[in-house]
């Protein structure tokens, strides 16, 4: 991917490069530090410090119960106590999101290429599949994957079990696939048609044109919206708790129950979950904005 991008910048691969003024390639400069960053880093530091404190061996349950009776734990102490447990759940969310993104991108590219196929029936069915999965709510697709995929299947006498978390990954990969397909179609359409003509006049076969000329140029255009999509799918992984896959929100509910189900703990616990996602997704969205500005593409 990066090779292709570098290649394209090389004058030899841009026949008209000599006619154009040399384009300045600004390095991606670091953002200037402002108060907001400081607040952000302090918040992250608090989370990390909290988990470090909580790494200390837990007190025996009896003592904990006693302590609870003596003085009910403050919201902060509850969060500090359970942070490692909750963060483990959060890491599971990240794993799901990365797996779903990888799977969805792979099939999404295939589907997107199907949308520009020369064969009418491939083009139409790819378009239909894309629109169908793009317009269905993500939670409904997740239900779809959980209920419609069997919990195991047998190939050549070997039984392969499909655990719930795997089905959830497929459930999240479906909307990713549809969105990537649409992004790819948009990116290809936005390329000047001269690129196709030029390739054809150089006797490139269609497959090679797509692989060597069209797709590398699409990568740059697709990167910001693709990152945006990743951030969205990461935030969507909490939906897995609704269909019974144990991730951060499931654990949050468990922690809440374990702490006696006190109503005033809801806000801090869900606030903590929100903070974790914020700390992960906000830098991604900042980077996306910078890339957008740099490539000057609109999502």
């Amino acid at each position: 991917m990066s090779d292709a991008m570098l290649d394209r910048e090389h004058p030899a691969h841009r026949p008209f490069a000599v006619l154009l003024p040399p384009r300045e390639r600004r390095p991606l400069e670091l953002p200037r530090l402002n108060t907001r960053h400081v607040v952000f880093f302090v918040a992250v530091a608090l989370v990390v410090a909290g988990s470090a404190v909580a790494q200390a061996p837990d007190a025996p349950p009896a003592a904990a119960t006693e302590a609870l009776i003596a003085a009910p734990a403050t919201p902060l102490s509850v969060i500090i106590k359970w942070a490692p447990f909750l963060l483990k759940g959060f890491i599971f969310n990240i794993v799901i999101s990365i797996a779903a993104m990888a799977l969805g991108t792979f099939f999404g590219v295939l589907l997107g290429l199907g949308q520009i196929s020369l064969k009418g029936w491939i083009r139409k069915s790819s378009w239909f599949v894309t629109q169908f999965f793009r317009n269905a709510p993500w939670l409904v697709l997740l239900f779809f994957a959980m209920f419609m995929i069997p919990f195991q299947f047998t190939v050549f006498g070997v039984t392969i079990p499909l655990p719930d978390w795997f089905k959830a990954i497929i459930g999240f990969a479906l909307p990713v696939m549809a969105n990537v397909s649409e992004l790819l179609r948009g990116a290809i359409r936005s390329l000047p048609s001269g690129q196709w003509d030029a390739a054809e006049s150089l006797a490139f076969p269609r497959g090679k044109t797509i692989r060597q000329i069209i797709l590398p140029q699409c990568v740059k255009r697709m990167l910001p919206p693709w990152m945006n999509l990743y951030s969205l799918i990461t935030m969507a992984t909490v939906l897995a708790s609704i269909v019974g896959v144990g991730e951060m929100l499931t654990l949050t509910a468990q922690v809440h129950a374990a702490e006696g189900g006190r109503a005033e703990l809801f806000a801090p616990l869900y606030g903590f979950a929100g903070l974790c996602f914020f700390a992960y997704c906000w830098p991604i969205s900042k980077l996306t904005q910078r890339l957008e500005r740099r490539y000057n593409v609109k999502t």
Binding site: P137, R189, L239, A273
Partner: protein, 252 residues
């Protein structure tokens, strides 16, 4: 109606495809009220999210730094946390911090119902996106157009009403449409706090009737149809607002 029910029963006997919503009165009414609930949630949240968007975009141009900060903080926070966590945070977290009221039977009831909380969180979530959309629309109106209005004697408010807003709306319609379609899809999250919308009703039906695959397909098709209607309506609106020679060739 009777014919449809008859057909549903025949279909079940012939193929095993069990569409209880066609012949079972109870399932049918559950399903239809689920659809209405989804539409209701969408329209009310859509309304409030657009208000939040307009007011927020206006407040973002405020000379007071604290106001601008607050709006930006709101946008960044609501765009970068999972909407489900937002709903839980409001419904479980905030709801418990608010005072309780007495309902008609003298029972202690929370200030807002789950449906109201769903509307509040969905409006805030979609509103955060709308603010940015509207602001970029207003920024897209050239300063010189505003100057021309001023030279014709328009006051600031008059110029906004007659010139800037009509132009801004046209610029941001595509992005706004996208966001509103997203809002419609996001209403399914209200399922998690037991709002009897489309997904919730469907799940009840397939649990009772044991027709998961059939109902699943019906559910997906219903959502796709709802989104389709919204997209069609918004496109029609976009077309009716289109002005020859303005705003063409923009976007992708």
């Amino acid at each position: 109606m009777e014919a449809l029910a008859e057909w549903g029963r025949a279909l079940y006997e012939a193929t095993g495809i069990n569409l209880t919503i066609l012949y079972d009165q109870f399932d049918q009414s559950r399903f239809i009220s689920g659809i209405w609930m989804t539409i209701y949630l969408s329209i009310i949240s859509l309304f409030f999210s657009v208000i939040i968007g307009v007011v927020g975009a206006w407040a973002q141009g405020s000379p007071i730094k604290a106001v601008r900060w607050a709006i930006n903080g709101f946008i960044v926070l609501f765009r970068n946390t999972p909407p489900l966590v937002q709903i839980f945070f409001f419904y479980f977290g905030i709801s418990n911090l608010l005072p309780y009221v007495e309902d008609a039977d003298g029972m202690r009831a929370p200030l807002f119902t789950n449906i109201q909380w769903a509307i509040i969180s969905l409006s805030l979530f979609a509103g955060a996106f709308n603010i940015e959309i509207f602001r970029s629309g207003i920024e897209a109106v050239p300063k010189s157009t505003l100057e021309a209005a001023e030279a014709l004697g328009y006051t600031r408010l008059g110029a906004y009403r007659h010139i800037v807003l009509p132009l801004a709306i046209r610029v941001c319609l595509p992005a706004l449409n996208n966001n509103l379609v997203n809002l419609l899809k996001t209403t399914s999250l209200a399922y998690a706090i037991a709002v009897p919308e489309l997904l919730y009703a469907s799940k009840q039906i397939w649990t009772d009737a044991q027709n998961v695959p059939t109902m699943m397909v019906v559910l997906l098709l219903t959502y796709v149809a709802l989104v389709g209607v919204l997209v069609w309506a918004m496109n029609a609106w976009e077309r009716s607002m289109a002005v020859p020679g303005y705003g063409q060739g923009r976007g992708r």
